[in-house]
Amino acid sequence: MPVALKSWKALGTSVHVLCTHDDTRPFHAGAADDALEAASTAVRDVLEDVDEAYSRFRDDSELTQLNANAGRTIRISPLLATAIDAALRAARLTDGAVDPTIGRAIRVAGYDDDFSRIAAEDFDERGRGMKLRAWRVPGWQGIRLDRRLRTVWLPRDVELDLGSTGKALAADLAATAAIAAAGGGGVLVSLGGDIAIAGEPPSGGWRILVAEDSRVRPDGDGDVICVPGGGVATSSTTVRRWSRGGAVLHHIIDPQTSLPTSGPFRTVTVVAATCLDANIASTAAIVRGEAAIEWLTSCRLPARLVEEDGTIHYIGRWPDPASVAA
């Protein structure tokens, strides 16, 4: 089954769209490319909508306007309502381990711009002489979202950051739009390593290299799994790092301490029915630390956890790597 690939940059990360040809339709040379073109256009449209709705780094995004109007009831677009609804669900299902009210805490810790610009600055110069500060995470419980009226009210001290769930939700939305545009076959959308799958997979499933950094080449060494549908997400403390006051920081905030997590796991990958659910679980596992294995087991989600010293744990129905054929 032919698979076509298209890649570009959006939302401050890499985007990959893969398409297969619908076997029930007449095959012609370039059929997969035609499907890919339609799917890619649909993905671009979704990502543009996402950027306008909930980018934290755009002054004109809806989210920025909402954060500037905390304390007032604001009517929001369907897309932002869906994203906030997803973030609140994540907070509920993880007992607050994944909390969208970390906005100010992560900004105060130093992640205050598109990361490509932070990374472009000299790592030491930026962090040298700047004290590490923490801002108490106010908690998601104070947010009032009326899904029917599409209104939201934020407490005055709340600054939303939908980064954790927002990218995964975008991958799910993009995959759904892409398969509709392609008119059949199968589609895989990867946003910076968060993967959503729709339609018919290729024979044997989509091959996914599981790594700590999404920039690792797909033909590199490491665990490879085959997934027929749903979503795959990886959260890692080894990427998006910067320094403050001599401390090396990363982007996963523990709402309990309002600082980057410091648990035993540096990378967690989860397979779930959607990319959103996989991302919720992988992020929560990093935050939960030692309790993550028991929690993931109770969720019945296949998962792969990497400890700080490199020890790997496989949870649930994650395939046994010893059985991988060379």
Partner: protein
């Protein structure tokens, strides 16, 4: 049969009123009690909770948002029906990693 005196008739009517009142009050208490027990045993479902998301979805201009609205209402994290397998088959490799 001897005819009743007015006093006896009045007493009989008063007894009949008390019996009627008692039966009505008892029936009412029984209905309220049974309703309470039923409500406690089965809380029921609100139809408005589901329609809120539907409204969001139907007013959405993108078809994609509607499908995710239903997903995001799930009360637990959802696993795939088919487990992942080892990478000896399949095609179209991509990388899942932190970003």
């Amino acid at each position: 049969m001897d005819s009743l005196t007015p006093t006896q008739r009045d007493r009989g009517l008063q007894r009949l009123r008390r019996l009627t009142f008692g039966a009505t009050a008892g029936g009412l208490i029984a209905v309220v009690g049974a309703s309470y027990v039923a409500a406690s045993s089965y809380a029921g479902k609100s139809s408005s909770g589901g329609t809120a998301l539907t409204t969001t979805a139907t007013t959405d201009t993108t078809a994609s948002s509607s499908s995710t609205s239903s997903t995001s209402s799930s009360s637990s994290l959802q696993s795939t029906p088919t487990a992942p397998t080892t990478g000896s088959s399949g095609s179209g490799t991509v990388t899942s990693g932190g970003s």
